[in-house]
Structures are given as C-alpha cells and as structure tokens.
C-alpha cells in the first residue's frame, strides 16, 4: 500500500491516455484541482502521450472546414495543468456530481457510517461515505482498484493521515481499515472497479444488501 497522499503516477498515465472510467476520472479531476504536484504529473503524462500521438501513423482527413470566426476564442480552459489552484472542495458536488450534498439519499451501513451509491456498474462504482467522528470502518480488501478522495474531515489509515483533498490509492494488495479522526465527521467519495472483500463476517453478510 502506498502511504503517499497522492495517486500513483500510473493513474495520470491512464488519465492522460483517456483510459479511465467516469468515476476515476471525476476523482482525479477533483484532486488535480487542489494539487499542483499532481497537475505537474499529469502534464508530464501528456508530454509522453503527445510523443505517442504525433509519433504514430497518419490517417487522411475526409473533410476540412474553416471554423467560423464568430465562434470566438475565449472558451473556458479545459486543460487541468493550465488551471489556477482551487483551495476548497466544498463545491465538488455542485460542480462534478450536479447535486448538493443535502440532496443525496444515505443508507445506514453500520455504526456511525452512512453510504450513498452515486453510480453502480460492474467495473465502475462511485460511493459516498459519511462517517461520524471516531468511527472505525470495517477492515477490507479490494478485487481491483480503489481511489478515495476526502471531501470533509480526515481519517487515519495505517500510519497515514488523509485530509481534505488527499487521495488514498488502494489496490488488490491493500488490506486497510480507515479510522475517522475525533474532531469532525468525515465525508469521502470513492471510485472502485471491483467488489470489496470484508474481513468481518457481519460485513460479508451485509455486503449484498449494501451492493458494494
């Protein structure tokens, strides 16, 4: 398990390659908005991507049309590493999810823990987790990758503290048990591409009902 609070650079290679599912893209976009180090990592991945694209073959274009000059040239910047730093992720829901935190429907998932599924397919799930101060989450592994972005509060996992804007990068080699700090509730959003594997019998029994 990585104890870094940033995703592995391999994620930015995949992001730059356009090979991620929507939930992973969203999480990384939100982290990129607050992390200059990772914006730099993405730019490097784009530089290599450009080598692949412009070092490849050519395919003749069927058409050419001159853009209408009336279209203007001042669109919003869409390149992550060209954007200014964002210091507040509280707009995450409005901006990325299209709904406010209060509009989500939470399920109880254990003592002090609530869960909301934002998207759910076999290889791309997005989960919101809301945990009361001091909550100890069930110990679990993954059948795949998991990226967890902290939106509010903080939690410990192993020796690392994950705060607002941090990402925990877990995969099938990771066995972890997040513990929320005592000073505030913790809200996270997680992207996963495979089912979780819980260590506890109770969680394994409840897992099909929670759909995680």
């Amino acid at each position: 398990m990585s104890t870094s609070n940033h995703p592995d650079q391999a994620w930015f290679v995949s992001y730059a390659a356009g090979s991620l599912t929507p939930s992973f893209n969203l999480l990384l976009q939100a982290h990129l908005a607050v992390c200059s180090q990772c914006r730099c990592g993405l730019k490097k991945a784009d530089e290599i991507g450009a080598q692949f694209m412009f070092g490849g073959e050519e395919a003749p274009m069927d058409n050419f049309e001159m853009p209408n000059p009336q279209l203007g040239v001042n669109q919003n910047e869409s390149i992550e590493w060209g954007k200014d730093e964002v210091t507040d992720l509280s707009q995450f829901f409005d901006h990325y999810i299209g709904t406010h935190l209060d509009g989500l429907q939470w399920m109880n998932a254990g003592k002090g823990l609530q869960l909301c599924k934002l998207s759910d397919s076999d290889d791309d799930k997005m989960l919101m987790l809301r945990a009361a101060p001091g909550t100890v989450l069930p110990k679990h592994r993954h059948n795949g990758s998991e990226l967890t972005l902290v939106l509010k509060g903080a939690y410990f996992c192993e020796d690392a503290l994950f705060k607002v804007g941090d990402i925990e990068d877990a995969d099938d080699t990771t066995l972890h048990q997040p513990v929320v700090t005592n000073d505030s509730e913790c809200i996270c959003v997680a992207a996963v591409d495979g089912p979780l594997r819980f260590s506890g019998l109770l969680q394994r029994v409840a897992q099909p009902f929670l759909g995680i």
Partner: protein, 185 residues
C-alpha cells in the same frame, strides 16, 4: 515576436500563437494539415471507427481554434497542449458511450514498434524518436505503456491481459514512464 531569452518556438507553436493572437486562418489550415491526420490515426488505433475518429478530430481541432489564445509556449509545447485537448474530448466521448465495444481493438500488443511500423508518414523524425525511446525500455515496461496510451486499456484490463497483479502493473507503468520522461528531457 520572440524575445531573446525565451525558448525557441517550433513551427506548430508559432502556428498556434498566430491563431490565438490574430485568428489567422492560414495558420489554422497549416496546423490542421500537420496535426489532424496524426490525431485521427491515433484515435482509430484505439478502436474508434473511421467516422468517429474523423468527428472527434474535427471537434478537437475546433477546440484548438477556440482556445488557441490560452496556449502559452512557456508552459507546454504545442503537441502537448493539443494532446491534452484531444484526450479531454476522448474522455467526454467515452463518458457518453459504453465501454463494451472497447474490447474491439485494432491493435494487439507485440512490441512497442507495432503501431509505428507502417509507411505513409511524412513526420519520420517523430516516429524515429518514439521508436528509439521505446526500444530503450525493457519490454515489460514498454508493454503496459503502449497498452495504456495506444490501446487505451485500464490498469485492470492490462493486469488481466498479462496476468499480473494490479500493483505490479502500476509499478511497471510508473517505472517505464519515468524512464521515457528522462529520455525525452
């Protein structure tokens, strides 16, 4: 006009600056001829149909026209900047379409040279550079990089394909990427 002390501007960057500063249609025509066929071929290589590749390329080049005033040659090369626009278009398109069909890939990985082996290309220097870079890498590192960038495969898809744990795939991508980056710089 370039000032002394600034990095040397390549042809594509000059064209982008001419579009951004003056909305030069002639510069756009030249940039389109230089870049669009590369973009279209790259997209076709990832399994997109000819029509879809043509459409995404047209959209990306339109974005280049509309955003050219945001291009800053001190921050990135023209190729890196345009690549980022293309991959954002790709992400937008994939968000709207199923990934089911993405298994139908034109490319099957054998070596890093597979996708640059055909003729009909007028930018031999870029091809030769990429070929040299990939040859410098051990196969175990070039393989997942080509699978990522050229075939658009996720970590999980790569792990399943070559039968390795996810963590190993990520390590190989990271190490190969770092070596490529060192060589490029």
């Amino acid at each position: 006009m370039q000032q002394s002390g600034e990095p040397e501007i390549d042809q594509e960057s000059s064209l982008l600056l001419a579009i951004g500063n003056n909305q030069s249609q002639q510069a756009y025509v030249e940039l389109f001829e230089l870049m669009a066929p590369k973009i279209k071929s790259f997209l076709m290589g990832r399994g997109s149909s000819v029509d879809e590749s043509e459409n995404v390329t047209q959209d990306a080049m339109l974005s280049v026209w509309r955003k050219a005033d945001l291009f800053d040659p001190n921050k990135a090369s023209a190729r890196t900047w345009v690549y980022a626009i293309v991959r954002n278009r790709l992400i937008d398109v994939q968000r709207k379409t199923s990934r089911v069909d993405r298994g139908n890939k034109k490319y099957r990985y054998q070596s890093g040279n597979d996708f640059i082996s055909n003729g009909g290309v007028n930018d031999a220097s870029a091809q030769a550079q990429l070929q040299r870079l990939l040859q410098e890498l051990p196969d175990e590192q070039s393989q997942p990089l080509v699978m990522s960038y050229v075939q658009g495969m996720s970590h999980k898809e790569i792990a399943n394909k070559i039968g390795l744990p996810l963590g190993t795939v990520k390590s190989r991508i990271r190490m190969g990427f770092q070596r490529l980056q060192e060589m490029v710089n």
